[in-house]
Symmetry: C2
Subunit: 359 residues, 2 copies
Amino acid sequence: MSEAVHAVILAGGAGTRFWPASRRLRPKQLLPLAGEGALLRQSVDRVLPLCGPDRLWVATGAHLVDATLTTLPELPRSQLFIEPAARNTAPCIGWAAHVIARTDPNAVVMALPSDHHIADVGGYRTALETAVASARQGVLTTIGIKPTHPETGYGYIEAERSAGSVWKALRFVEKPERARAEAFLSAGTFFWNAGMFFFRAGDMVRAIAEHLPLLARGLEALDAAALLGTEPAQLEAIFPTLPAVSIDVGVMEKMGPLAMVPGDFGWNDLGSWLTVSELAVKDAAGNSAPPGVVFVDAKGNHVTDLREGSAKRVIALCGVRDLVVVETDDALLIVHRDEAQHVREIVEALVARGDRELT
Amino acid sequence: MSEAVHAVILAGGAGTRFWPASRRLRPKQLLPLAGEGALLRQSVDRVLPLCGPDRLWVATGAHLVDATLTTLPELPRSQLFIEPAARNTAPCIGWAAHVIARTDPNAVVMALPSDHHIADVGGYRTALETAVASARQGVLTTIGIKPTHPETGYGYIEAERSAGSVWKALRFVEKPERARAEAFLSAGTFFWNAGMFFFRAGDMVRAIAEHLPLLARGLEALDAAALLGTEPAQLEAIFPTLPAVSIDVGVMEKMGPLAMVPGDFGWNDLGSWLTVSELAVKDAAGNSAPPGVVFVDAKGNHVTDLREGSAKRVIALCGVRDLVVVETDDALLIVHRDEAQHVREIVEALVARGDRELT
């Protein structure tokens, strides 16, 4: 049995919730929203001890290749999966599984998000190792995050309680209403779906063949093209036609036996500026900001300063509470932390008035 | 009797309440805080029809001469009273009275602030004309602003009700407590002291001689120096030694018969960013801002953008209320409008940490 473990970091995300920090060419995973450095950089560093530099893959969009390689300068271009079009996660993960299976169908693949925050990296790695060991047995495996509050913004995984570290996943559950989320929380058998999947490459190839035959046909055509040395050209032609479906919905939910490793390692999906402000290191008044920001009678505010100019302007907040302030070289955002989910409406307004270069 | 009317605009004010717009070298009167153009520019333009360009004087500090002449490019340097040191208003107004009295003791002088806002310029000019006519009779005259609310931040003038347009001022009253301010408001015989004074030059020379003999002695020395052509050198030596007292306290309060013209012309002293935001033109949501600012679910906010760079950054406010946002090339202020009086504490904090160039 192969001992090889590959990591496929999904770093093609777009999103407008972190405007003005995030832009079309600088999406969330390339930003230092929590911890040190870009989220993608941290995501890679977290898994490198498990897969090594030669089996570390990053999947992203063609328009993000330059920025991704700037963030990960050590990554060979040959370890990028460059998606010609955004087709959700199943085509991308399936393509990666096919490519890896060409040489090592027994290799275990960890398909992981690039834009989350993990507080307890040691605990995270332990969970990954458990999930990898499970996948190595031929069982598609996921990690379920132990919920800390009745969140209505995530999908859940219901699992069968077990004394061991690998539980049986019973079903995927859509984002619940509040009352249901509270019931999930108290039940103790519902976990957040964090989009972390573990499988042997050949197992995923077979699962896609069974549940997403259209996708399988496209990926098999890419396998054939690879033998002929025409994969790049075929990719451009085929990839945009692949069904745009998530791996959760397209494959995982349809599988019979699925394993779930409960995870409790300070996971946060950084959904908005609110969560970024919650994770930031605060002073006694609950303010978080880079050095130099002046606070007068101000509480619970968060300042992110991404300006690159050498002569930064001083920022002063007086008599305000619970604001998030984000500075970039070409934009200033002031948003109440409880309204952070509406930031995308600013982007829509900018697009509507033709200010595309700001989005 | 001389018909000449002089205006002396007092433009030496400092102040930190309008940081970051206001700085040591760019105080309030040089800022466009309400209406079109710098407040000093507007103050001059309001009185020019009454005094003409040759009898328009501006008093300011040595460090503000360049900025003042940039704001008033048509003003001959010889019509500046350049105070070598800040000594409150009596030395400056007294000096102006002495200088004007040297050639025309019967000329009427209007001593006026440079940093207030007047909504009804026509009504203002009518009040000035009434006050000038009163002063021409040899009576020191002031304008009392009809109060619109029980303000506790201003001094008051109690006057004797009259059917005419010139009332008799009985006494100056210090800033009152709230209950007293409310009684003043309902009495109808109390007016705000807006620091507008009218007098024949010779009358003021005599009043100072009577009530501020020390000041009179210094100013008489300047008169003598002027005859010898040594006034500039003597000014540097004498002015900093003059008693630092306001014309209100030093002269006006001590005078016997004083006239007061009731004024009701939309006067506003622009005491803080709160009053600036109140005067600004608002949209349907109560926001006031330059074109291009994006508001999403934001109400009652005010944005002042004084950046000079050609590539201005976009400003977006989301889910916030009653904020004042001020942008300059080197600073950003975010203050709740009801806390605007605390802005000076930011300046104190910057001074304390050595950021003098930002103050």
